[in-house]
Amino acid sequence: MASLKAFIIARVLALIPTVLILITLVFFVMRVLPGDPVIAIVGMKAPPERVIELKKELGLMDEAGNPIPLPIQYLNYLSKLARGDFGRSLIWGKRPVLVEIMEHFPATVELAIAGFIVSIILGLLLGSLGGWMGGKTSSAVKTYGAITYALFIPWIGMLLQLFFAVWLGILPVAGRIDTGLEPPTITGLYLIDSVITGRWDSFISALRHITLPALTLGLVISGVFTRVTRTSVEEVMRQDFVVAARARGIPEHKILLHVLKNSFVPILTMMGLQLALLMTGAVLTETTFSWPGMGTFLLERIQYRDYTTVQGTVVFFAIIVSLVNLIVDICYAYIDPRIRY
């Protein structure tokens, strides 16, 4: 496994150029986009002097009032970043970007994990059902996959809200937890923190709040998992070792387990790729359920041309996504002995 260690180190190093390219892209794209962030910040009523003043403050203009060229701004930004300084938000009290990210990130992680679990349960169950049964079941599962994939999150979210919250009144419409029940922060994930600290009322409240958003997100992503699982199971089912196992008298339920394990590599790949979908899904889910996460936060800051926050967030995400993909790769190696680095 020493080679695996080398692989991890190589992957982490490979992360640096990836992130650098992303930073550069985001930096320039944000500035090429029409729309002056300064005007977005000060609003329409501000006098011109105030605009100039703010530009100086943001490092867009030097003291003499001349605009600082983009390449210099870029270098300034990089040197700050290298020192671990993500900068401060351009708007609302100029709060440190890292603080803002950390305020919103745990909520998204919690929702993403919950949605992921729902989608994997649904996807694996239905997908293996379809792949195993074949025929009409397979077609039905195929249709399910297509429909859920095309579902519009605000729409399905609203239906769930209407049904479970307004009509039945058993689950809350929006929010993350009931007022005053927040558990002490340890991981920032309410479900976990409340269990660690043994605050069951908090746990129940958090669970009730996360049910509908997780279901919505999970349902939509489950389509992809269902499809991948189904095709993958079908493919593995066609492989000789299944017949060979049957010829040895291995019972079907054991064979299903082996088939699932073999189907899992493509599913795992899909899981890594789904992160992006999960993020876009999270934006809409978070909006629908007023979930205080990263998705809505980032979207809002893009609209305000909050350069530093958007840049910081993207860099942050690049690192997270790369880390997750690294974990996925390590999982491959763990599941499939043929893969060794």
Binding site: P47, R50, W92, D178
Partner: protein, 568 residues
């Protein structure tokens, strides 16, 4: 024969499906159980709350809770459990709080929050646009109109029991001037200096006579703030507040804000002990939360369709009043064809305001014929008098005079911004286009730009006709007139020396009667020039669950939490 084999497969997959159903059942059962347990939860929590909040207990404990909540908002858990039903009201909003700091907050919703956790020397009497004494008992003006002296109420305290004196007013106002944030101009444009004459007397020395200065003093930049606010920088998450009916006990940005009655408020304790603001990101969820009973009040901003729907719902009350929010078209008088007054007048005459209010906003807005809104003193329907409503005959006549005809059509671009004013904006623009084209002599191209771009282009004077909206800074006709005249942000779209003179005069005249006369005249000139054409005025709508009383709204658009209560 081989059917058995298929059967086996079926058995396996049925088992898989069964597992799924079992999981679903468990989730359902748990959900049901939670629903049951939640109903029971608040009842058990009641006792603790009444004990901690009930009486004006020892000062030190109050201080402690405040400082601990300020530093670690998230850890302030056990202190604020579900309160007794009657003394707690939950308000849902889709707005957000920017900086809980009057030195930089410059948006309506944050001003509302500030008005509930702080107070000004002057304030508006609830339900009116009239000023009344707030922290001050009254004021005197020097004969030259350049010095305003306010006398403070005796025994004013911040929410933690710290006494408030004239020095705090001076410190706070100077802090706003020093930080020079977004709303600072409300101070710096007018105030030269502010001094504490004694502990209970504050004197403002102005740069020039300002007739509406008491209205300015009622705005948040003039609110005295707690000494805990950082003296020289914006303190966006500072929860110490000022001298107001409530104090912040918990603040989780974009999630919720919990306010508790300030035991030291000069007017006595508000009716409702605890106000919880829940921040929504979606208007539909806001509406559903009201229907589900998760919130007692759905405040800014419900969609027009939701308001219509909620009006018929049992157990829900919708309250509407005219708001101080106005919408208008800016014609840039430097860009052809809008440099021609005849064109501007013709377009002003053709606008179909009623159709916009009824079709797009389902009656949640009112047609407006002057920049000074309905309900404010000196308001005059100048545009209606001059051009009428949707007056196509007049429009055609004016267009002909300007040299246009059915064959030689006037070609114009109308710009709008798609999201900043809500998703209804494209409909507003479309109806204006339709009304103009109804003359048969105009061809309109609709163009849109995203908000920041829109502002930038406008500022640079690149757009001919644009749609904008206005929330007032201070409730005075001056705030509905001077910001457009010779203004950089409109790209200097409109300038009229006569008007400038009248407005300047109106802003310094000390008596209301004199000022009103001048503003009436200004409105007529405004309509004659037709450079900036009012379209409609917003209505404020709030939906509350039955039993919620004391909702008083007025054009200031600030919800006064200290007046609301639950009847039962």
């Amino acid at each position: 024969m081989m059917g058995k084999y298929a059967k086996k497969r079926l058995a396996v997959s049925t088992a898989v499906a069964a597992v799924g159903i079992v999981i679903a059942l468990i989730v359902g059962l748990i959900g049901g159980y939670f629903a049951g347990s939640m109903a029971a939860a608040p009842a058990t929590a009641t006792v603790t709350v009444t004990e901690t909040v009930g009486a004006k207990t020892v000062t030190s404990t109050v201080e402690k809770t405040i400082t601990s909540t300020v530093e670690k908002t998230v850890t302030s858990v056990k202190t604020v459990p579900a309160g007794p039903a009657v003394s707690r009201i939950v308000i849902g909003v889709t707005d957000k709080v920017t900086d809980i700091d009057p030195s930089n907050a410059y948006d309506f919703y944050t001003w509302e929050v500030l008005s509930n956790i702080m107070g000004g020397l002057m304030r508006y009497a609830p339900g009116t646009t009239e000023l009344e004494p707030g922290l001050a008992t009254g004021y005197t003006v020097s004969p030259d109109g350049k010095e305003y002296t306010f006398r403070l109420r005796p025994n004013l305290y911040f929410a933690d029991g710290t006494p408030m004196t004239a020095e705090d007013v001076v410190r706070s106002v100077k802090r706003v001037m020093e930080i020079n944030g977004d709303p600072a101009w409300l101070v710096t444009d007018f105030v030269k200096d502010v001094v504490a004459v004694d502990d209970h007397t504050v004197k403002f020395i102005l740069k020039k006579p300002v007739a509406f200065f008491p209205a300015l003093v009622a705005t948040p930049p003039y609110f005295p703030v707690h000494p805990a606010y950082k003296p020289k920088e914006i303190d966006s998450d500072q929860t110490a507040g000022g001298v107001g009916p409530y104090r912040i006990v918990k603040w989780v940005r974009d999630v919720e804000l919990v306010l508790e009655a300030n035991p030291y408020w000069w007017q006595g304790a508000p009716k409702t002990k605890q106000i919880v603001i829940k921040f929504f990101k979606d208007a539909t969820a806001l509406r559903m939360a009201l229907e589900a009973g998760e919130i007692d009040i759905a405040w800014r901003t419900l969609r027009p369709t939701d308001i219509q729907d909620l009006k018929g719902k049992k157990g829900i009350k919708v309250i509407e009043v005219p708001g101080a929010y106005i919408r208008y078209i800016i014609f840039n008088t430097k860009i052809p064809p809008f440099d021609n007054p005849l064109v501007r007048k013709a377009l002003a005459a053709a606008v179909n305001r009623k159709a916009i209010c009824e079709r797009v906003f389902l009656g949640t807005t009112t047609p407006l014929y002057s920049m000074i809104p309905i309900g404010m003193w000196s308001h005059k329907d100048s545009f209606l008098e001059k051009y009428g409503e949707h007056n196509l005959e007049l429009a055609k006549k004016l267009l002909k005079e300007a040299g246009y005809s059915e064959t030689n059509k006037l070609k114009v671009e109308l710009w709008y911004t798609p999201t900043h004013y809500g998703d209804t904006e494209v409909d507003v623009a479309t109806l204006i286009k339709e009304a103009w084209e109804e003359t048969g002599m105009v061809e309109v191209t609709l163009k849109s730009a995203e908000w920041t771009t829109y502002l930038e282009y406008t500022r640079k004077g690149m757009l001919g006709a644009t749609l904008y909206g206005w929330y007032p800074d201070y409730i005075d006709p001056d705030d509905y007139t001077s910001p457009w005249v010779n203004a950089s942000w409109t790209g200097y779209a409109y300038s009229n020396p006569e008007l400038i003179k009248i407005l300047e005069e109106a802003s310094v005249k000390p008596t209301l009667a004199e000022r009103a006369k001048l503003y009436e005249k200004a409105q007529d000139i405004w309509a004659e020039d037709a450079a900036i054409v009012p379209i409609f005025q917003g209505k404020l709508a709030v939906a509350v669950r039955e039993g919620v009383e004391g909702v008083i709204l007025d054009p200031t658009m600030l919800f006064r939490y200290w007046l609301i209560y639950k009847a039962s």
